[in-house]
């Protein structure tokens, strides 16, 4: 039972951090298919630099890398006005190809020692606290309200004297910070970088965000649900349920099927931010 709870936390924490990264960007109107790539880049940077600069240095550089790649996303979507989906896919391609290329050439292959890793409970604590903080920021602060208004209707926000590009700049920096932390967490858990190690977590985080209706706390709860499903799958693999063998793939499909149902509007009304993808 304790094992099971621990596994749920282990599986959901990176998802929650990543969903918060997605929240910051999508609520401001920037569609973020690139979460996967951002997380992967952060993983790589943390694994490559932690042996040289220590635990804190590794995480700090991972956050910097997350911010840089998020600002690249900002430049592509806001300055060059490239379609949000295309730029997100390109970022995923860049991250996947770039990290594979560097690791394949022998960079960032070291296995982290204990001294090069921050304690896991620190990350878990952050994962629990951040949705609550973001909820408070969204509803209680000037930036939070501007952030939401830009995502809901950039044209009206512009009439009120808010520059959507500036707000999105800030929002994407936050996305970078969260991606950096989430990536470091993943490396801390596995203690080495492997090719495409995020294995779709960015997409699942995006799915959780959608399932949570683009709100931080429900999104975090959806991540817990997905983490729970993964933990169930790990515990149940190889064991029969009601006398039937259930392949582990069925459990792995679960989060995606739930998201499909949510998008079809079968799980509550559609809450897509109206300004998503608009300039």
């Amino acid at each position: 039972m304790v094992d099971f709870l621990l596994q749920t936390v282990t599986m959901s924490a990176p998802l929650i951090l990543m969903a918060m990264a997605g929240y910051m960007s999508e609520r401001s109107g920037v569609i973020n298919i690139g979460l996967e790539g951002k997380m992967l880049t952060a993983c790589f940077v943390c694994a490559a630099f932690a042996p040289r600069f220590g635990a804190i240095g590794g995480v700090a550089l991972a956050i910097v890398a997350g911010i840089i790649i998020s600002l690249l996303h900002w430049t592509l979507t806001q300055v060059y006005r490239i379609d949000h989906i295309i730029s997100g896919m390109a970022i995923n391609l860049l991250a996947s190809g770039g990290t594979a290329f560097l690791v394949g050439s022998g960079i960032g292959k070291d296995i982290l020692s204990d001294a090069q890793r921050l304690p896991l409970p620190l990350y878990y604590g952050l994962a629990i606290v951040s949705p609550i903080i973001l909820y408070a920021v969204a509803n209680r602060t000037r930036f939070g309200l501007r952030h939401k208004s830009v995502g809901s209707d950039p044209d009206k926000a512009r009439l009120l004297g808010i520059n959507p590009q500036t707000v999105r700049f800030g929002a994407l920096i936050c996305t970078g910070i969260f991606s950096g932390i989430a990536g470091s967490l993943l490396v801390t858990e596995t203690s080495a970088f492997t090719k495409d190690m995020t294995s779709g977590r960015g997409y699942i985080a995006l799915a959780a965000l959608i399932l949570g209706g683009w709100r931080p706390i429900p999104a975090a709860l959806s991540c817990l649900l997905f983490g729970f499903a993964t933990a169930v799958q790990i515990q149940m693999s190889g064991k029969p349920l009601f006398g039937m063998e259930i392949p582990s793939e069925i459990w792995k499909m679960l989060p995606y099927i739930v998201t499909l149902l949510a998008l079809a509007g079968l799980l509550g009304r559609n809450r897509t931010p109206a300004g998503l993808g608009k300039h």
Binding site: G98, A100, G104, I250
Partner: protein
């Protein structure tokens, strides 16, 4: 605006060169190996054509959806479903009839796999990119479970079907020395020509383009945009499913876990690169195919294939920004 695109261009080249410098690779040698590895001799060209074939059909599938204003990221999943069920039919029936039935099964499977994405987009306003990514993952796990369980060949040790009998495998259409032109490649060429004709010369093709260019205007003009969306998505899925079935019949001769190797994502690049003219699909599929093939060749130099993915991403971004620049000029 005029300055920005050259800046993007320069930055991209610097990034690629820098990454080669970081891993201490010989830049000239790497570029030369990509060229000789993909186009060096007849055998290499055959390899490039082999890489290009699924990209051409999948590129056509994504292109069709793109013209209707839909990003079909789900080509990968539809390709998998088409290949999985198509191969089942081919192995069960066998012979030329089996191939034909398998292709039809692939087409139907792909279309049905794309259906939820189309319906959710048209009637529930759920973004097709998210739904197709979800469907991709579901397809991946579902086909993996099927091929590890009910479809696993008795003589196989890994999750794979048994190899198809020789009379079910498609032979190359033409063999000139070491240069082989596969049959599925010709099918791909015909599909692209058919799509070009359909989009530019027929009413239903025009309706599809109109719904993609400006749905509101199209609706006023009497186009049933919702139905067009569903139809476009299903057609796109059907082509992707066919690509999967043909891949099994022509090249792979079996279905196995790990069948998908990212062709679906490359196909989006192929379609985007083709831009406004469907016949540019030949060029862009060739470019992606050659880069894929050349990417494998640079492994000898100790340079990872990943660098070709970086190049592809950069090229996609470049074309997307140039196209936007042109739009800006048109609209003042």
């Amino acid at each position: 605006m005029k300055v920005r695109i050259p800046i993007l261009f320069a930055c991209s080249i610097v990034v690629i060169i820098l990454s080669l410098v970081v891993v201490k690779a010989n830049i000239g040698e790497t570029v030369a190996t990509i060229f000789t590895g993909s186009l060096g001799n007849a055998l290499k060209i055959s390899g490039t054509i082999k890489e290009m074939t699924p990209l051409l059909i999948l590129g056509a599938a994504v292109y069709l959806a793109l013209k209707a204003g839909l990003f079909n990221i789900g080509a990968e999943g539809q390709y998998l479903v088409g290949a999985c069920f198509g191969s089942y039919a081919m192995i069960a029936i066998g012979g030329p009839v089996g191939v034909a039935v398998g292709c039809i099964v692939g087409i139907v499977g792909g279309a049905l796999w794309a259906l939820p994405a189309g319906v959710i987009k048209a009637y529930r306003n759920g973004h097709e990119v998210i739904t197709t990514i979800m469907l991709n993952s579901i397809a991946l796990y579902m086909t993996r479970a099927i091929v590890a369980g009910p479809m696993k060949g008795a003589d196989q040790h890994t999750a794979s079907t048994s190899v198809m009998p020789a009379n079910t495998q498609l032979t190359p259409l033409l063999t000139i020395g070491k240069l082989e032109i596969p049959q599925s490649f010709v099918v791909g060429i015909l599909i692209v020509i058919a799509i070009g004709y359909w989009l530019n010369k027929t009413v239903s093709g025009y309706e599809l383009k109109a719904a993609g260019a400006n749905p509101t205007a199209a609706q006023f003009a009497g186009v049933k945009t919702k139905q067009v969306t569903v139809k476009a998505m299903m057609l796109s899925g059907a082509l992707a499913g066919l690509a999967g079935a043909l891949q099994v019949a022509q090249f792979e001769h079996r279905f196995y876990d790990g069948f998908a190797t990212g062709y679906g994502f490359d196909a989006l690049g192929v379609a985007l690169l083709a831009g406004s003219n469907p016949f540019y699909l030949f060029l862009s599929a060739f470019f992606f195919g050659a880069l894929n093939k050349g990417g494998t060749a640079i492994a000898i130099l100790g340079v990872d294939k990943g660098i070709t993915m970086v190049v592809l991403a950069v090229v996609i971004l470049m074309f997307a920004s140039v196209r936007y620049g042109r739009k800006q000029v048109n609209h003042g």
